[in-house]
């Protein structure tokens, strides 16, 4: 059995030797180059675009502007399509825009023979605008009279949802309650995957073939069909290896525009390669969300009632929209369970900033920062140890959510906390560090988190796969759940090997998804891959194995149900006697003059469950108060993501997520000029993504409670590692200095202002 073992990644050798091919490695050098002209105002109408100078440049092939494109709005979110019109994503995008809604909006393209010429062409365009006033802050954008981005959405509110469990107003009347209240701000950050978005398109056999760096090939095919007004089958979408996505590529980015450019030059090959500067602004960003939390607790620490208001900055276009803040709203009532009442209002609001979309952990890093800051402050105010306060109020074993039907089967949170605090020596240090004085102080902090695996029942959860056996008994495996660097192909191969009963080396995962070949599936997001693919692999792998065993029965004369296929050998289950190696059986079957058969299996598995994934993070910091600097000394995440399919890959997932959390907590924030709306730091020098030199040794540990809903006992791990880091850092700074910092990233600028305010400087 190979599940549970740290086998080498199936793509390791190709990736380290440079043999793995990415989109830009595949495109033919004859491709025309597309460069986009972006708006240089934050809000307004394009009055005219003078192309005359650009058209004079030798090598410019075609210029397309917002006055040329069809008036056919389409949605871009990488959600499974809903056949119910009320649940469909908001279709608010055009290929190019006359009404520009953020600084960097797409207004024209130049298609040229090479990159330099295309760039010269873009610079030669003369654009005239009618400028409107603009708004960058979501709460400002909600006010009457604020500049309106989309006519259909009054006060710029894309959506407002809420819920009330119990009766909040009544609950807070209980005598003797202590009130803990705070506002918490989270920043606009970008995914910063290594490979920027890139795609190329050409017409072949009456179809548009688009090769793209995407997480969601089948979804992008649908969106390109919608955007271009083509039958969806007339778009063929191919996804090769990609250099990361983290949710940015869980959206249709420039594939529709690239397809349109291809159509406009007679189906010739065109390539659209996005620069890092464009990636920051004109792709997607993480929603910046502002929270207002009020907690009413009894003096013994029990939460009686809590209230949360959340204001989520959608930016200029709907993309994934309200789903992000809504997921955090679910977390609010589940990670801690109030004795009497919980009330939430969540708003998603358009502003004149880059469109926010999906990003690793989909709203939970944001809400975790707010909740875990509020809980830490509550502990201080109540005079109760913050770990004990959490343990008193967090989701109990046996908790069941009415909507998802998720059940908390295990005491995961306490098990994770026990491991984390032992590693950091939390309790001793927390008490000791609280007494420090002097310019350089240490602190420890922690945070817990909640996560859902996959998207059922909000959205479709299904997975399809195909397995085909070769002459030598090896198996081709195809699935639409994509490898995006996370190691999915390797986990799939392990599960296929064990289910079918062949050695790991005999499983060939077809890493490239091609919508004309690969079975239908929705792609990589929601930490769903291993969980949902596990169901399909179990079902289809069992079918394939049964076909093999039936054939073995024909060959051996023994009934199929006494046979088994184990590690590539057909055996008699009762005697364990080896009967035939799989390669011999497969060769015989394919070349049999009597009963030739190719063993293959294919089908769809619907998944109507979801699974809670939990964990925590602990950090130790050193704070240099006069220098306003925080150094991370130690950091650990502990996760219960069920049984580990590949422990080493799981650890790598956690390290990456922790790194992202460090950036989220300490450095990253996309800034805009308040006077113009222009992005100020859309490059990797001025946007402070953390380097290796800013990381402590990262420690990942696990609690392995076998998830009962999964055939392999697994659940979400892709996104959860990003959740606890930022609030744990915040709480460690609080332990060190007594200063509560209710915004992230906690940069030296923010520390300086807060240290001044609290009299430390």
């Amino acid at each position: 059995m190979v599940v549970g073992k740290s086998v080498k990644r199936v793509d390791a050798f190709d990736k380290v030797t440079g043999r793995a091919r990415y989109t830009d490695d595949l495109v033919d050098k004859s491709a025309l180059i597309v460069k986009i002209c972006h708006s240089t105002i934050a809000h307004g109408m394009v009055k005219s675009i003078d192309k005359s100078e650009a058209e004079k440049i030798a090598g410019v092939v075609k210029i397309l502007t917002c006055f040329d494109v069809p008036d056919r709005p389409f949605p871009t979110a990488g959600h499974p399509w809903s056949t119910d019109p009320h649940h469909q994503d908001v279709a608010d995008r055009l290929l190019l825009n006359r009404h520009v809604r953020y600084y960097g909006d797409d207004i024209a393209v130049v298609i040229a023979e090479d990159e330099v010429t295309a760039e010269q062409g873009v610079r030669a365009l003369k654009v005239e605008y009618e400028e409107f006033s603009f708004v960058l802050d979501p709460q400002e954008a909600m006010k009457d009279g604020a500049p309106l981005l989309h006519e259909k959405f009054k006060n710029n509110i894309l959506a407002h949802t809420g819920y009330e469990v119990g009766n909040y107003e009544e609950a807070i009347l209980e005598p003797g309650l202590v009130k803990i209240e705070g506002w918490y701000d989270t920043p606009t950050v970008q995914h910063c995957h290594i490979e920027n978005h890139i795609c190329y398109a050409e017409e072949q056999s009456g179809k548009i073939v688009i090769v793209s760096s995407t997480q969601i090939p089948h979804i992008v095919r649908r969106i390109c069909g919608q955007a271009l007004g083509l039958p969806w089958g007339s778009v063929r979408l191919i996804k090769p290896y990609i250099g990361g996505g983290f949710g940015n590529k869980q959206d249709a980015l420039y594939e529709p525009l690239c397809g349109y450019c291809c159509q406009q030059v007679g189906g010739r090959l065109v390539k659209l390669d996005v620069s890092r500067e464009e990636t920051f602004v004109s792709n997607r960003v993480r929603h910046a969300i502002r929270y207002h939390i009020i907690t009413f607790a009894r003096p013994d620490g029990r939460f009686v009632a809590r209230r949360m208001e959340a204001f989520s900055n959608q930016g200029a276009y709907a993309s994934h929209g309200h789903g992000i803040v809504a997921k955090g709203a679910s977390a609010f009532k589940q990670i801690y369970v109030d004795d009497k009442a919980t009330k939430v209002d969540a708003y998603t609001i358009f502003t004149n900033t880059p469109a926010s979309g999906a990003m690793r952990a989909y709203g939970i890093p944001q809400v975790s920062f707010a909740i875990e800051s509020n809980v830490e402050d509550a502990a201080e105010i109540l005079g109760i140890d913050s770990l004990k306060l959490r343990q008193m109020n967090m989701m109990p074993v046996g908790y069941k959510d009415d909507f998802t039907k998720n059940i908390n089967y295990f005491d995961s949170l306490n098990q994770c906390i026990a491991k984390g605090k032992a590693y950091i020596d939390y309790e001793r240090k927390h008490a000791e560090y609280a007494k420090q004085t002097g310019p350089i102080r240490r602190g420890v902090g922690m945070a817990i988190f909640w996560y859902n695996t996959a998207v059922w029942p909000i959205s479709l959860e299904a997975s399809s796969c195909r397995m085909v056996m070769n002459q030598d008994g090896s198996v081709q495996f195809e699935i639409a759940e994509t490898e995006i660097g996370q190691g999915a192909d390797t986990a799939f191969a392990q599960m296929v090997a064990d289910t079918v009963g062949v050695p790991f080396e005999k499983v060939h995962v077809m890493s490239t998804q091609d919508t004309d070949i690969t079975p239908f599936g929705t792609g990589a997001y929601a930490s769903r891959q291993t969980y949902v693919a596990g169901f399909a692999i179990h079902q289809i792998g069992t079918q394939l194995k049964n076909k093999v065993l039936n054939y073995a029965s024909y060959l051996t004369g023994k009934p199929a149900d006494v046979l088994d296929l184990v590690d590539g050998i057909v055996i008699d289950k009762s005697t364990k006697e080896p009967l035939m190696p799989i390669d011999e059986l497969a060769t015989t079957a394919l070349y049999s003059l009597d009963q030739a058969e190719q063993f293959s299996a294919e089908g769809t598995t619907q998944i109507k469950s979801n699974a809670y994934s939990f964990g925590c993070g602990f950090v130790e910091v050193e704070v240099d108060i006069p220098m306003c600097k925080v150094t991370l000394l130690k950091m650990i995440n502990v996760h219960d993501c069920g049984r580990l399919i590949n422990p080493q890959l799981a650890e790598a997932q956690v390290h990456g997520g922790m790194s992202m959390a460090i950036g989220y907590g300490m450095g990253e924030q996309l800034l805009f000029d308040p006077k113009t709306g222009k992005p100020l730091n859309n490059n990797l020098l001025d946007y402070k993504l953390c380097t290796m030199m800013d990381h402590p040794d990262l420690k990942a540990e696990f609690v392995e409670n076998f998830e009962p809903t999964s055939p392999f006992g697994t659940k979400a791990l892709g996104e959860p590692p990003t959740c606890p880091g930022a609030p744990a850092i915040r709480n460690a700074i609080f332990n060190a200095t007594g200063v509560s910092i209710n915004q992230t990233p906690m940069t030296p600028h923010v520390l300086f202002a807060r240290f001044k305010e609290d009299g430390l400087l």
Partner: protein, 293 residues
């Protein structure tokens, strides 16, 4: 792909200055770590380039007969860090060079290029200013020398006339002899970053190491160009080694600097860091010189 119209590869200093005279609008490219970024942004679209990258004669660190250190302006940051001559006589220059960017940048960026671009944040510039470097500038009509203090004219502007090439950075013997320096780069992250404040301090102590005989301090990003804090220097010279001197410099430097508020940092925050780096830099430099607190 970069948008330029011609590349002239200089084969010698003489050839370089001739090329510069023949192509007055051409842009000089050394390591390329600034020029290529500008080109990528489209700022020098269509420019002609004169490359001095192959002029190894400008890459050496040697000593002149009068004892001055002669640093070739094409010396890369990583070569500066690893130069035995600099390690022996002026290690702080190599140390400050080692804080710039990342390994790739340090392999191509040059000590001369970083001052010729006239930027205030250059990590080695403040150390060159703190050591009163003398610059040797060559053109077809000959060689002239000027103090680095006269070289900076404003942000991005230096005293290089058309056709002039920086051919040496000289550190006089009296500048580095018995002198111990320390550089603090303050940035938002620990690598791959530009300085929020750079502070270069050096001291000469009395023979008994109880008195500060000469203290020099220069900053990057405390003003529009790398600058010395002369009031602070005057106040500290002659002071006894001790905590009083450390406390004093933190106050005195604020009389010299004029940082501005921008989206990168507020003036108030910069002042906090200017004071604190002065205190820590002076203390470290004194300790290197054998002073005891």
């Amino acid at each position: 792909m970069y948008d330029f119209s011609a590349l002239y590869e200089a084969t010698s200093v003489q050839n370089a200055v001739e090329l510069m005279q023949a192509h007055p609008s051409a842009v000089l490219i050394a390591g390329g770590s600034d020029v290529l970024i500008k080109m990528r942004e489209g700022k020098l679209a269509g420019a002609e380039l004169i490359s001095i990258y192959k002029l190894d004669e400008l890459r050496e660190v040697t000593m002149d007969p009068d004892g001055a250190l002669r640093i070739g302006p094409m010396t890369s940051f990583s070569h500066a860090t690893n130069s035995p001559m600099l390690q022996k006589y002026m290690p702080v220059l190599g140390e400050s060079a080692d804080t710039a960017g990342g390994p790739q940048l340090r392999s191509i960026g040059t000590l001369g290029g970083t001052i010729c671009t006239g930027v205030t944040s250059a990590d080695t510039a403040s150390t060159q200013v703190a050591y009163d470097a003398v610059l040797e500038i060559t053109s077809v009509s000959g060689i002239r020398k000027l103090s680095i203090h006269d070289f900076y004219k404003g942000p991005g502007k230096v005293d290089l006339q058309p056709g002039e090439l920086l051919t040496a950075i000289l550190i006089p013997k009296e500048s580095y002899e018995n002198c111990f320096g320390y550089y603090i780069k303050y940035a938002m992250r620990n690598a791959m970053d530009i300085a929020t404040i750079g502070c270069s301090v050096n001291v000469v102590l009395s023979p008994d190491r109880k008195t500060i005989r000469r203290m020099r301090i220069a900053y990057g990003v405390a003003g529009p160009v790398p600058m010395r804090a002369r009031t602070a220097e005057a106040a500290l010279n002659g002071m006894p080694v001790g905590e009083a001197a450390i406390a004093a410099i933190g106050e005195e430097v604020l009389k010299d600097v004029n940082p501005r508020t921008s989206w990168r940092a507020s003036a108030e925050f910069r002042k906090q860091i200017i004071s604190e780096t002065a205190r820590r830099g002076l203390k470290a430099a004194i300790e290197r010189a054998g002073g005891v607190f």
